[in-house]
């Protein structure tokens, strides 16, 4: 009787329960409420508990049982009437009792109280369950669509790319290598496990944010200063035959001060003061050390000057190392930004390829290529050198994707030819392209700038072109967002171009002012 009651009641309320589940699932689907599964489990669990509890405690009287059995045995009120008229002395009552006994004599409880399947209600339950299932498998309304095979492949490609970057960074001796690798590996894992495109994009954005928080705000100034000093000293060494490395030059100078003539000391002093001036904005500590060395030299305090030069050498070394680490963070952030842009709007993603070719005597080519637009850039360089009149081929190629909206950077190291008197031939790509967003004239067709690379004297060939916001559209890149990118590029350019330190200071000050505005 209890089991029959339980099943009958369950069937009775099944359609309502189904509708409740549909409502929960629909709410989950239509609104930000994302506990649909939890809600369904709660409803089912609570209903089952309530039903079992009620079935075990419900009071079933004899009359209830008789009434239920009358339906099963088709006894038509015989049992309930017999129950009511149980007077054994009344002849009619006895007749009723005998009739009831006859009806129940050969009956089993299962026959008396059969368990019926209410087809109508079960059909309703099936419909609501199907509806709930259909809504459940649909992606949430207003969110990213479910991962299609294309998006899944794109996510896998991005994850693989990020994994490669992580491996490359892990092989480097960067100070920030460990944290970048950890971040990238975690990101690659998240991308592979993302259930929706939105989730993947959120992971990318979070990783970008974390990386950007690790970038020193003064990084660009430091980079300009450090690279400027290195460039200056490479172009105009402090002494003839000095090594190219700025730090080594300063160390060598510190060690060799005693052997310099007064004229040479005076020239070095002037030079150090110039260098100190160029470093004042980006690296005040180094500037101060160089000024101190110059002053000590002027005062004839060579040992003091040597100490200051040694400190400057250490500072430059340390600055270089730090700058490279920060540069790696910034590049990684840009790479993630590019990945996010590609994933958010795959239709605008194009691939570009830059290839340059150049000839140079005695030195292998160096090539780099830049991707354009939102696509992946690919650069390839090839160099060939010869020695002793016999051409020798130095092989080497680099390929790395530089990805960022509107810009891509890549570099490949070509083969290094043997320096010699013989004629050698090298091929080096000499093209780096980037889209330039004009913060004033928004939406113009992107310009492509070509920056020559020392390694190759040849002309570059642009074989790809990216897309940038058009005049009729709106700029999609906020000014504050692109500024660091251009600051970085400007810093790179200043390091590459042969500009006097004073001119570099002007450019740097200009960007510092822009940065202040942006902040």
């Amino acid at each position: 009787m209890r089991l029959a009651w339980l099943l009958a009641t369950a069937q009775r309320f099944a359609p309502h329960l189904g509708m409740g589940i549909v409502l929960v699932v629909a709410t989950d689907w239509l609104t930000p409420f994302d506990r649909g599964l939890w809600g369904v489990a709660t409803i089912l669990g609570a209903s089952a508990l309530l039903l079992l509890s009620r079935a075990s405690t419900i009071r079933i009287t004899d009359w209830d049982a008789a009434r239920a059995a009358e339906r099963g045995l088709r006894a038509r009120d015989t049992l309930t009437t017999a129950l009511e008229f149980a007077d054994s002395e009344d002849s009619v009552h006895q007749l009723i009792q005998r009739r009831a006994d006859r009806l129940t004599a050969d009956s089993t409880p299962a026959q008396a109280i059969p368990i019926h399947a209410d087809r109508h209600r079960l059909r309703q339950l099936a419909i609501t369950a199907t509806l709930a299932l259909l809504i459940g498998v649909l992606p949430p309304l207003g969110s990213s669509p479910a991962l299609s095979s294309d998006i899944e492949a794109a996510l896998e490609a991005e994850a693989a790319q990020i994994q490669k970057i992580a491996e490359a960074v892990a092989d480097s001796d960067l100070e920030t290598a460990e944290e970048i690798v950890t971040e990238l590996e975690r990101l690659a894992e998240e991308l592979r496990g993302a259930q929706t495109l939105e989730e993947a994009l959120q992971s990318l954005e979070d990783a970008e944010t974390r990386l950007s928080q690790r970038i020193d705000p003064a990084f660009l100034s430091q980079k300009t200063a450090v690279q400027g000093l290195a460039r200056d000293l490479a172009l105009r060494p402090l002494a003839d035959g000095a090594p190219l490395d700025a730090s080594s030059q300063l160390e060598e100078l510190a060690d060799g001060l005693e052997g310099l003539s007064e004229h040479e000391l005076a020239a070095i002093q002037d030079r150090l003061e110039d260098l100190a001036g160029a470093q004042a904005a980006g690296n005040p500590a180094l500037s101060s050390q160089l000024s101190e060395a110059a002053r000590a030299m002027g005062a004839g305090n060579l040992s003091g000057a040597a100490r200051s030069l040694q400190q400057a050498a250490d500072g430059q070394q340390s600055g270089l190392s730090g700058t490279r680490g920060q540069q790696a963070l910034a590049e990684t952030q840009r790479a993630l930004e590019g990945a996010r842009a590609r994933l958010s709007d795959p239709r605008t993603s194009t691939s570009g390829q830059g290839q340059g070719q150049g000839d140079q005597e005695g030195q292998g080519g160096e090539g780099s290529g830049g991707g354009q637009g939102l696509g992946a850039g690919q650069g390839q360089g090839q160099g060939q050198g010869g020695a002793g009149g016999q051409p020798q081929q130095g092989g080497g190629s680099g390929q790395i994707s530089g990805v960022a909206p509107g810009a891509g950077g890549a570099s490949g190291q070509g083969g290094q030819g043997t320096v010699g008197g013989s004629q050698s031939e090298g091929y080096g790509t000499g093209v780096e392209t980037a889209n330039v967003f004009d913060p004033v004239d928004l939406g113009n067709v992107s310009d492509i700038i070509q920056v020559g690379i020392d390694g190759g004297a040849g002309e570059g060939q642009i074989v790809g072109k990216g897309e940038a916001p058009t005049r009729s559209g709106q700029s999609v890149v906020p000014y504050a967002r692109v500024l660091p990118q251009y600051l970085n590029q400007a810093a790179d350019a200043l390091g590459e171009l042969q500009l006097p330190p004073s001119m570099r200071g002007i450019v740097q000050t200009y960007f510092d002012l822009l940065a202040d505005e942006a902040r």
């Binding site: 209830d64 008229f85 009723i96």
Partner: protein, 337 residues
């Protein structure tokens, strides 16, 4: 304590079956009509037969009187029919000694089975005289009350389509009838059987199925059958649901019914259900007996309003809906199997 025995039950159902069979030899294709009339006879409740002329109403009553061997009278109700024509009157008589005195001459009401043909054609005064006899089972003439013979059963007929020159029975008087039975036109195959029986120049004989004493004992047995409380509750709920102001009234009742059934309607249902159970040979009443008896017991007890008349809604449709709406008594457990 009832005195019914198993043999009594068998006897009751056996005699009833014989009566039905006997009447059925004259009346073709109307088993439910015969059953309802028989139930009226055995529950001693008057029956109003409604149907167009020529459907065999009068023949039915005659067949019954022949089958049960009781006295039978027929009164054709007309507008000039007087109460005395029904209940009898006093006439001045002179005895052997020459003395004159008023002597009572009994009317046709003093019979066991009275056929009141076209009862709605008589004036209300005459109708009232008959209806008093129906209710009280006695008549009073010149200050003297005279009991009617038992059993006393009035089978009245009325034509539902000829309203001109008729005096529709007031609700209070309709209430005296236990059943109002609608006589419907026969189906083609039944009509064929009627033609076969009635066009050969001889009328089928109705054999005697029971004598008057047997009928009296069966009438006495009927009320003794017990009815379970939940079935009495069921009847009460049905009656309650016929009242438009009641909480359990169905929407059609609320809309079309002006007045619901009286308690006499409930009594009629229960008595008819008892008789039906006994005819079936059962020692107790079932809900199905109640559902069977309810339409005939209620259709003349519902006073329909103007909307029902305007929309052509008949009481049968309302009762049918009502019976399906009022739930049978069930265990107090929701969802009980």
């Amino acid at each position: 304590m009832s005195k019914l025995e198993h043999a009594d039950l068998e006897h009751y159902s056996g005699v009833a079956a014989r009566i039905e069979s006997a009447v059925g030899q004259r009346i073709a294709g109307q088993p439910d009509l015969i059953r309802q009339t028989l139930v009226g006879l055995l529950a001693e409740g008057h029956v109003l037969l409604e149907g167009v002329p020529g459907l065999g109403k009068t023949e039915l009553v005659k067949a019954f009187s022949e089958a049960v061997g009781v006295q039978f009278s027929r009164v054709q109700f007309t507008p000039d029919l007087m109460p005395a024509d029904i209940v009898g009157t006093q006439v001045l008589e002179e005895d052997e000694s020459g003395r004159r005195r008023f002597a009572y001459r009994a009317g046709p009401v003093f019979t066991n089975l009275l056929l009141a043909d076209e009862i709605n054609r008589a004036t209300p005064k005459t109708q009232a005289a008959l209806l008093e006899a129906m209710q009280e089972r006695h008549v009073t003439v010149a200050g003297e009350t005279r009991a009617l013979p038992r059993p006393f059963l009035v089978l009245a007929t009325q034509n539902p389509i000829e309203l001109e020159g008729t005096y529709p029975l007031p609700e209070a008087q309709l209430d005296r009838f236990m059943f109002k039975v609608t006589v419907n036109p026969p189906r083609a195959e039944v009509l064929e059987e009627i033609l076969r029986r009635t066009t050969t120049g001889s009328v089928p004989e109705v054999p005697l199925a029971a004598d008057i004493e047997t009928i009296r004992s069966m009438i006495a047995m009927t009320p003794q059958l017990p009815v379970a409380t939940h079935l009495l509750q069921y009847v009460s709920r049905i009656i309650e649901a016929t009242h438009p102001d009641g909480d359990t009234a169905t929407p059609p009742v609320k809309r079309y019914v002006r007045w619901g059934s009286s308690p006499r309607g409930a009594q009629s249902i229960v008595l008819a259900a008892k008789s039906a159970a006994l005819i079936d040979g059962r020692p107790h009443v079932t809900a199905e007996d109640i559902r069977w008896a309810a339409p005939a017991a209620l259709r003349h007890r519902l006073v329909l309003g103007y909307e029902a008349t305007a929309e052509g809604v008949r009481s049968d449709a309302i009762i049918d809906e009502l019976i399906h709406s009022v739930p049978e008594p069930r265990p107090d457990i929701r969802g009980a199997p």
